[in-house]
Symmetry: C2
Subunit: 369 residues, 2 copies
């Protein structure tokens, strides 16, 4: 039986052991002046994305982060500042640090506050791209809490009826402990994230009708038209008939909770990592389950619900639970190594050369999944 792996891979990918990739990223970042602890946080976040099958947020992002460091878009020694604070909330200014570093500290603070007072809400302005939203939600689930994480992001999605890239793919993540692996919802509020389109572009394949529009606002299957002035569609798709206005609303919700509540901005004004003041804003929340009900009771019910879901009547072999594919993929990749696209490996090794770090060696080729 084939082991399970989420995400597209084929013979253009090579396997690299997780530890090698992790220490590579840490070394590159440290060479560029990122403190060791911060480098490890960023690396952990990128590697977790790759382990969980979210390639778009994995080590292939390193190039953009390096650009962000070199252009001054990322502040390597941010003075993360608590602007306002109460027993169960805080507002942080990220001082344009790495989104992962700022996000990690913010979620730690939310967890501390939830420990003390049942609930912790921490909003952050002046940050940068923070990687996978689920990373922070999982931090809470690991200590027996419900974790929520959201971020605005650069504009890629058109509102219902609109043509312009106005909304971000603004992800929402929620993690909750069970008796086994945590439940982990981690979703872009668009039909698909932009990374999916990049895979289709690379393969030269048409995209499904209903993912995106061209620059005139018509649904298109031509991925190039999307990249040339088109836009992604919000979850629910084109128009209102199938609820496109709901995805649009969820995206604005993230802009409100992360961007406007923090004194930051909304996705339309969010810029790339390489630019100064990219103005990314986050929202984090931790709920201390023990303050409400016994943790064991909560976990037991979570596991019972999941068991019932899995054994309910179905038309497929298996009903999936959120996060499950990611955990299975992680299991596979911790053993077999992380698939890295050859072109990405080349990019990584160019970075290695330019900063003076030992290059990565290509492992064995992947097979088509």
């Amino acid at each position: 039986m084939r082991v399970f792996e989420k995400g597209y891979i084929d013979e253009n990918y090579v396997r690299i052991p997780k530890d090698e990739l992790f220490s590579f990223v840490v070394k590159v970042l440290m060479k560029l002046g990122v403190p060791k602890e911060d480098s490890e946080i960023v690396a952990d976040n990128l590697i977790m994305a790759d382990l969980r099958g979210i390639e778009s947020h994995g080590v292939q992002r390193l190039e953009r982060y390096v650009d962000g460091i070199l252009s001054g878009g990322i502040n390597l020694r941010p003075k993360v500042r608590i602007v306002r604070e109460g027993s169960s909330y805080a507002l942080l200014d990220g001082d344009e640090g790495f989104g992962q570093v700022v996000g990690y500290r913010a979620m730690r603070l939310a967890i501390e506050k939830a420990k003390e007072s049942g609930v912790g809400v921490v909003v952050v302005r002046n940050s940068n791209h923070y990687g996978i939203a689920g990373y922070y939600a999982l931090m809470a689930a690991e200590v027996g809490m419900i974790g929520i994480s959201m971020t605005n992001s650069r504009p890629l999605v058109a509102p219902t009826g609109g043509i312009e890239r106005f909304l971000g793919t603004n992800p929402i993540a929620l993690a909750a402990p069970t008796k086994d692996k945590p439940f982990l919802l981690d979703m872009a509020t668009s039909v698909v994230p932009i990374g999916k389109l990049e895979v289709y572009r690379r393969k030269g394949k048409p995209i499904p009708e209903g993912w995106a529009i061209d620059s005139e606002g018509n649904i298109t299957t031509d991925v190039e038209k999307v990249f040339n002035g088109g836009a992604l569609l919000p979850l629910g798709g084109f128009g209102e008939l199938f609820g496109g206005h709901k995805g649009y609303g969820l995206s604005v919700m993230v802009d409100i909770l992360a961007g406007i509540l923090s004194g930051g901005t909304w996705s339309r004004h969010v810029k790339n990592t390489s630019e100064k003041h990219s103005e990314v804003d986050h929202f984090f929340m931790a709920i201390n389950i023990e303050a409400f009900v016994p943790l064991e009771e909560f976990k037991e019910k979570m596991s019972r619900m999941i068991k019932e879901l899995k054994s309910s009547k179905r038309r497929v072999d298996r009903i999936w639970i959120h996060g499950e594919k990611g955990f299975l993929t992680m299991e596979t990749r911790l053993k077999a190594g992380i698939p890295v696209y050859r072109k990405v490996l080349e990019e990584l090794n160019q970075i290695a050369e330019s900063v003076g770090v030992e290059k990565l060696r290509a492992g064995e080729s992947c097979e088509r999944a």
Copy 2:
């Protein structure tokens, strides 16, 4: 120019002034033993749904609530009990009272807590159907806070790959103040709520492909097949291609936050209002904006974002903001009266007769919208 009205109406609807309808509902409930204050809360919630164009949650629900009272499914004198409490959170037991009554008190408590400590989270178990989720979110927006409201609900939606009615349409509502009317997202986490299918059924029209499945798990346009053992699809639709697993995940998120966190249950076990222990659970949250940023700055940014959205490039006459259609509909109906379906009017007058309350008089017929 025609005034704007959301929702389907035609010549089978008659107009009834809002105040008449409100006092009718109050009188009926009081005759059945509901305290005056509680009757007014329930009536206000139902009438607001009708005013905002959400007919499925308006006065047509009264019959089901009356059934719930007569069958003992609704406790008319609930002892709403605070089970656990901290400065920024509480867990309530609704003692099987009216969802609206329990929900109103819970949201008031969340607002009080947010006033004191920036954030208020109140979860509720042992409640009943609470009407429109947006009602509670708006309570917070009216006092300058962000309001969030969610509820589990009886099973109507199949998880991705599933056939069984397992999930509820589990709505998520978020309201936030602006310089003008509040932003109000109020959405079922299914493609459409069941009320939409009831309208198609009444009209004898096929439903769009992608709203629901039949008892075999196939997409169907035959609304009768959905009512006979079929199920609604989660937001994002059939399968994973357009993100159906996201709507499924959002629905489970509501079950976790409202049902499992409160020591209650998940939608699969939620029952109708007429049954004892219908086990509906809610989640409420209020965020005191002033604790984070000046309220005026927040409102100003909200209004600026909305203005930018409305003036962005579009393929339609108008880009709508969440809640806007509802507020316009309310404006129209406060003047012209609330459209009530003739058959619903008959039902209401049968109730009037059976409890001994003066009947409603039919107003003028509506035209087809």
